[in-house]
Symmetry: C2
Subunit: 259 residues, 2 copies
């Protein structure tokens, strides 16, 4: 193995496979580059056989994903990554993520693992310094775990969420019109459901809205809706990974990479 | 490092960064899966600092990409990959690719490196057994290297190309309307230029057309135009990588993954 021109970024993927690929694509998009050679070295390790996170959180007798996740970060470290992250919201639930860090720590790993939700919230604090009330959209599963709420509150934000998560869950999971079933081309009615939820949080006084589910940014690619900033956590995480290895490489304006 | 449930696929990326990410996305798309756990383990090593291939082919005193490419495949082998490939057309020019294989061979590497153009042509022979005349679209640089021509002719195909590559190069590179400058949303006029070139090859009697440039499939996502099959080499390569590790995992119908 030779040393790279820049420290290498690691991405642990497979949870699901497309979310890991998307995080790598966002690292490329958020890098200031005028040609291939200006980009940063990145390694993606996509391990779809990592046991399901949601299943284990609901039933601790199910296969435990923590050792497989820790092993993935070890392998990224062995491949040359100094800093790494994963795009899966559920894997950042403290009951799971903290155990991964403990396993890495016990084994003497030196790789730095960034936390999707911590980086999203600290990114909001940095990019939107006047924001006080943060709205959060996601599935019932993600929001009921309370991870976004507790991190936001620790950073001093007031947290608001839609009164009824049923419509949003429907927009994501519906077998016909849902985002998961139509990731290449989102039906207009589904996009409207997500926009309605953003509008509801706007009326409740949100200063920023987090799209707290990997599917939601597929329906709403804008960085603002009716003037309300809308945050894609994977994009914030991509920016944190770039900042960790070379802040000079970061697209300076949060919105500069948009057409 | 623990062993994976399936042999791991390696992708050497960074040439350019988006092409490597796209190849991983196509591996996911071409895998028969009803959930995350059905997908195959994949590792992407994106090394954008690999010296420019076109520059070196034009000027052998420029930095040589072959050692960096060979080193990348070594690192993929060390990361657990048994079979690997890269998405860059130019890197498969014999003057470069054969030296990469020699470097790997001399050093005792065991990783199997698939050849983008060989896999595309053998894929056409397999998927379109009645095809005789194959049309090829690409930049002047890719076509003048003759790699597609020589591989197609070795497989017994007649090769046809557009009479004038100027318009196609313009469709790819034009600073305003070109595909490279508009990869998220291709202008209609640019797509028409690519469709016209396909139509020209259709009139010349092509049985299949190869989109021999990573940008062209962004403008033409269909698998056929006016009944003429249109082949994306990266998609063929993704299918060969899957077939190499587990043929059972391959989406059976070449067109089944399309909506």
């Amino acid at each position: 193995m030779t040393s790279d021109a820049f420290p290498m970024i690691g991405v642990l993927g497979g949870m699901g496979p497309q979310a890991g690929v998307d995080l790598v694509a966002k690292i490329t998009a958020e890098t200031r580059a005028s040609g291939d050679q200006d980009h940063l070295p990145v390694t993606l390790l996509s391990l779809p056989q990592i046991p399901d996170r949601t299943t284990w959180l609901a039933d601790p007798s199910a296969p435990d994903p923590a050792p497989a996740i820790a092993n993935g970060f070890f392998r990224l470290e062995a491949a040359g990554a100094g800093v790494a992250a994963m795009a899966c919201n559920t894997a950042h639930t403290p009951a799971l993520f903290d155990r991964v860090l403990d396993l890495l720590d016990d084994a003497g790993a030196t790789i730095s693992v960034l936390h999707l939700i911590e980086e999203t919230v600290s990114g909001i604090a940095f990019e939107y310094p006047s924001a006080r009330r943060v709205g959060i959209l996601g599935t019932h599963g993600t929001l009921s775990s309370g991870t976004y709420h507790s991190v936001l509150e620790r950073h001093g934000f007031d947290v608001i969420a839609p009164a009824d998560l049923h419509r949003l869950t429907h927009a994501i999971y519906d077998a016909d019109a849902g985002i998961k079933a139509n990731s290449e081309s989102i039906p207009a009615v589904t996009r409207e459901e997500v926009l309605d939820a953003i509008q509801e949080l706007n009326q409740q006084g949100a200063d920023v809205v987090i799209l707290g589910c990997t599917e939601l940014p597929l329906a709403v690619r804008e960085s603002a809706v009716d003037g309300l900033p809308v945050v894609d956590p994977a994009r914030m995480l991509a920016r944190s990974l770039i900042r960790a290895v070379d802040p000079q490489k970061l697209v300076v304006d949060l919105f500069a990479s948009e057409s």
